[in-house]
């Protein structure tokens, strides 16, 4: 999360639109991706992530707007000469070739000697953890191995930008988590700009320096994971990333720096203006993440604010317990999460509890 914003720009989108016939798939994409950044395109299925990635690779023409890569307008640059390489969702491994033939596919025009190329292929395979797999037939590999071949095949060409379309979605959970870490390490090692398409918000949060959240062909928010999580700029983004409680509220007064609000069940509270993204004309709600709410046991007192409540539902996860709690005698129900530690019993439904919370964790959507 220590990404420095002053790195040079690698990719710039200026009002990019894409139509498929009448269908408006990309609706004015703006933004920049920095050199060496691990960038994710995150959004629900059908929001246009793949389309945007393909416009960067050059497989899809844009209807209007400009895409610059490393300072050059890509308008008339064909896919095969762009400084990008792609790891396809299906991996697109050439089934009639061996692993090393696949990895060396893009080296045909490379002026290096045959021996040097073979060495480069071996190094690329070693980098992705497939040392000694060169002679294997590509069709005999497992899903995870094919993906590594696809990675090696792209990285051996030392692109400026590596494009990855849902590379982990076909893997099982364990393998996926393992590959997430490997990809992060690999990206640090090679220093190439990675652009990852994913619909998995957790994956995006774990892996990315910055994330563009997309809905219906538009970027809803472009920010680092922490900002996205703590200060989402709309209810929709807040809802898509993690879990968030929404509590109806009223704005009582507003100065330049702070807002005085009355949130149902929580009472009057002053929040910082930075926690109130620009108004969209929706009825005001405040958002609170479950882990920012804490149940108070006997003898504990809140450091900031506390509110009474009644437990309505208990969801036990082993290391965690989720409680759904009605706040302050209202019909407002919030979910909160507590770590299960020794000496802290799991409470029953119907128990009267006190809930501690912090005004600084509130986000206002309106």
């Amino acid at each position: 999360m220590t990404f420095s914003a002053d790195r040079p720009t690698m990719i710039e989108f200026k009002d990019v639109h894409k139509y498929y016939g009448d269908y408006h798939a990309l609706r004015g994409i703006n933004g920049t991706i920095k050199a060496g950044e691990f960038f994710s395109l995150l959004g629900p299925s059908g929001c246009g992530k793949t389309t945007l990635l393909r416009t960067i690779a050059g497989f899809e023409d844009i209807s209007s707007g400009v895409i610059m890569i490393d300072g050059k307008d890509m308008a008339n640059v064909a896919a095969n000469v762009r400084p990008t390489n792609m790891v396809f969702q299906s991996y697109a491994i050439f089934p009639n070739m061996s692993v090393e033939e696949n990895v060396g596919f893009g080296l045909r025009k490379d002026p290096r000697s045959k021996e040097d190329k073979a060495k480069a292929v071996a190094e690329a395979l070693e980098m992705v953890g497939l040392k000694g797999f060169g002679k294997r037939a590509a069709h005999a590999l497992s899903g995870g191995q094919r993906q590594r071949v696809a990675l090696a095949r792209a990285l051996i060409l030392k692109p400026k930008v590596l494009l990855l379309d849902e590379p982990l979605s076909a893997l099982d959970k364990k393998m996926r988590e393992h590959m997430q870490v490997e990809l992060i390490k690999l990206q640090r090692q090679v220093g190439i700009t990675f652009i990852l398409v994913t619909h998995d918000q957790e994956e995006a949060l774990v892996m990315s320096d910055r994330i563009a959240v997309m809905f219906e062909g538009e970027i809803a928010q472009l920010a680092d994971p922490e900002t996205l999580y703590r200060r989402p700029n709309s209810k929709k983004v807040a809802d898509f990333i993690g879990t968030m409680n929404f509590i109806p509220a009223q704005v009582l007064s507003e100065t330049g720096d702070t807002l005085e609000i009355d949130a149902k069940g929580l009472g009057r509270v002053t929040i910082d203006a930075s926690m109130a993204p620009p108004a969209r004309g929706e009825s005001p709600v405040v958002g609170l993440r479950p882990e920012t709410l804490t149940l108070l046991y006997d003898g504990q007192t809140a450091t900031e604010r506390e509110t009474e409540g009644i437990i309505d539902e208990v969801i036990y996860f082993g290391d965690m317990t989720y409680y759904d709690v009605y706040l302050g005698g209202t019909d407002v129900e919030v979910r909160l999460s507590m770590r299960n530690v020794p000496g802290r019993p799991v409470l029953d439904v119907g128990t009267k509890v006190r809930v501690a919370w912090s005004p600084s964790a509130l986000v206002l959507f309106r």
Binding site: A79, N80, M86, F88, A92, F94, N96, G106, K109, A154
Partner: protein
């Protein structure tokens, strides 16, 4: 469920028995007959012992037979090459540039030439290629001398056969092109190759099983084609089948005809096996 392996095998035999009877009666028995006849002694209209290899040595003894065999082989190979080269772009176009919902219509249209009898198609080629035919009249209007293609028997045999078998060649090539994962072509371009080089390095090798199937489908029947040399070449350029016909029906020398048939089958067999082995190179890596 309660079946023993034995009864399962019996059920299996029962299921394949119609096919088995068909194969035995219509393939194995005639084949065996031809093989046996080919090593017996023949006279006009009769077959007798002793067993002999005379019929086969006859092939070597008279150079005209060898010439006809080699000619048939060459004509069939040329026809195969022309047909496959012509069919490939058609199959490619239908597979890559026709909308999915229109593909079957296109394939249907390609078969239209088959709706007319082969004899009629051959006669029509005569009208086009023959002396004073359409081709020569067209050449005449632009001031060129007539070619009279029909007088060059082998050339016209090749043209007519290539036209007749082209649709057969389109289908297997089309099927193999349909199976090529389109993202592989994007991967080829992504890795720096132009469309054309991607075609050569990715699409063409992946479609070779279809190309080889097409080649076999054209090659096997054209080697043994009887009608075309008879009609187009006016019988002046006999092929293997015409040779066999002469022996079997005109001279009624069944053993000699059978020996020619076996020799021709061997030739076809050897070329086909070569094709199949070549094919292994391409399908070896695929599922």
């Amino acid at each position: 469920m309660a079946q023993t392996p034995g009864s399962e095998a019996r059920t299996g035999l029962k299921l394949i028995s119609p096919t088995a009877v068909y194969v035995i009666l219509l393939l194995a028995v005639p084949l065996a007959t031809v093989l046996i006849y080919s090593v017996l002694t023949g006279g006009r209209g009769n077959v007798s012992l002793p067993v002999t290899i005379e019929n086969y040595s006859e092939l070597w003894a008279k150079s005209v037979y060898g010439y006809i065999m080699v000619k048939s082989l060459m004509v069939a190979l040329v026809v195969t090459a022309i047909t496959v080269v012509l069919a490939y772009p058609v199959a490619y176009f239908v597979s890559f540039h026709v909308k999915p919902e229109r593909k079957s219509l296109w394939l249907f249209l390609i078969t239209i030439p088959f709706w007319t009898s082969y004899i009629i198609r051959v006669s029509l080629w005569f009208v086009i290629l023959g002396y004073g035919g359409i081709l020569d009249s067209l050449l005449g209007t632009i001031g060129l001398p007539p070619l009279n293609v029909a007088s060059h028997s082998i050339l016209s045999i090749i043209i007519v056969l290539a036209h007749a078998y082209a649709p057969f060649a389109v289908l297997p090539i089309f099927v193999s092109l349909e199976k090529v994962d389109r993202s592989l072509l994007e991967a080829g371009q992504d890795l720096g190759e132009s469309r054309w080089v991607t075609f050569l390095r990715v699409t063409l090798p992946l479609s070779m099983p279809g190309v080889i199937a097409a080649a076999l489908i054209v090659f096997i029947p054209t080697v043994g084609d009887y009608v075309t040399p008879e009609l187009v070449g006016d019988g002046k350029e006999p092929m293997i089948a015409n040779l066999i016909e002469t022996q079997l029906l005109k001279l009624q020398n069944f053993p000699q005809g059978s020996a020619f048939a076996v020799a021709s089958m061997l030739m076809v067999g050897i070329v086909s096996v070569a094709f199949v082995l070549w094919n292994r190179r391409f399908i070896g890596g695929q599922k």
